[in-house]
Amino acid sequence: MTDFSEIWTYLAADPLLWLTLTLAAYGLGDAAFRASGRKPIINPVLIAVALLAILLRLTDTSYATYFEGAKFVHFMLGPATVALAVPLYANLHHIKATALPMIAALFAGSLTAMLSAVGIGMALGLDRDLLLALLPKSATAPVALGVSEAIGGSPSLTAVLVITTGITGAIIATPLLNALGIKDWRARGFAVGVASHGIGTARAFQVNETAGAFSGIGMGLNAVLTALLAPLIAPWLLSLY
């Protein structure tokens, strides 16, 4: 009989363990979400992240070791982003019909996300570096990190703020939009994609196929607009200090 500590030494260093646990943690989160009657507050991503974080802390495992296994899941984000083109194409007639509302909502949502985040942060006394890291947080992660670096923010801090923004959007979107009485799935999805990128889009797909497709468009367009506008807003922000 091999000592358990020896088996653990093998497992802890092997990608298999953390890949399996990532899928299992998400499976538990998804089961809880379904059991709750699909309540938005029971967010599968949040549950899986919390479970895995506790597990890493308890087993004293570094994020680098964890990521050796989890990178296979992380890698699929690329092809999944490309795959968004398919529901986009399936909704082509909607897109043609609502081009103007989309462009207007893109500017309104994107500018509100950036300026209100910085405004609230400033009012609560956050320093310059944190405000710069906050500025691009509604854009999809790879764009937000690149923008943060370009304007002198901290990319690793921005990564945290991007994920937190996505989970926030995924949780609040449904109750917020229901309270506003908005029934147009195109408008609902698009606004969520602009404000909370891929995690909001993943949530939108759980609710409605059209909302998901429009959320994907909102995410893609806001990636472009944030990359263009944040470098223009940042110097103005810095001039206030």
């Binding site: 991503v45 795959a83 529901p87 194409y89 019909a97 207007a104 949502g109 923008v147 408008a187």
Partner: protein
């Protein structure tokens, strides 16, 4: 399935190469998505063809954010006293951005008489 994945990865590869060759600030997958979207308009059969794999991938889109999310945990303690202010900025700005986006969409749709 294999061919579908090959097509998706091929468009991502194209996007990554284009982003670097043209020094674009956009991420490769977003360029790949745009290229695939345009290809589907040119060749409608392509969309029908890769639909099954795209649907499966997108149905589990949330799962794919878990590894990056776990990375967040290592940074939580460094927020310290700024944590509350950052939380307020994120929640406040996300609510305001969704409200601004959705009301603008509906408003302009009515103004332009779109369906």
């Amino acid at each position: 399935m294999i061919i579908h994945l090959t097509i998706l990865l091929g468009f991502q590869l194209f996007g990554e190469v284009a982003a670097r060759a043209l020094s674009l600030t956009l991420p490769g997958p977003v360029i790949g998505m745009t290229a695939l979207f345009l290809s589907c308009i040119a060749i409608p059969r392509l969309a029908t063809y890769i639909m099954p794999t795209a649907t499966v991938l997108l149905a589990h889109l949330s799962l794919l954010f878990v590894p990056a999310g776990v990375g967040v945990i290592g940074h939580l303690d460094k927020f310290g006293s700024d944590g509350l202010a950052l939380g307020a900025a994120i929640i406040g700005s996300t609510v305001l951005a969704i409200v601004a986006g959705v009301l603008t969409f509906i408003g302009v749709r009515r103004l332009t008489g779109a369906p």
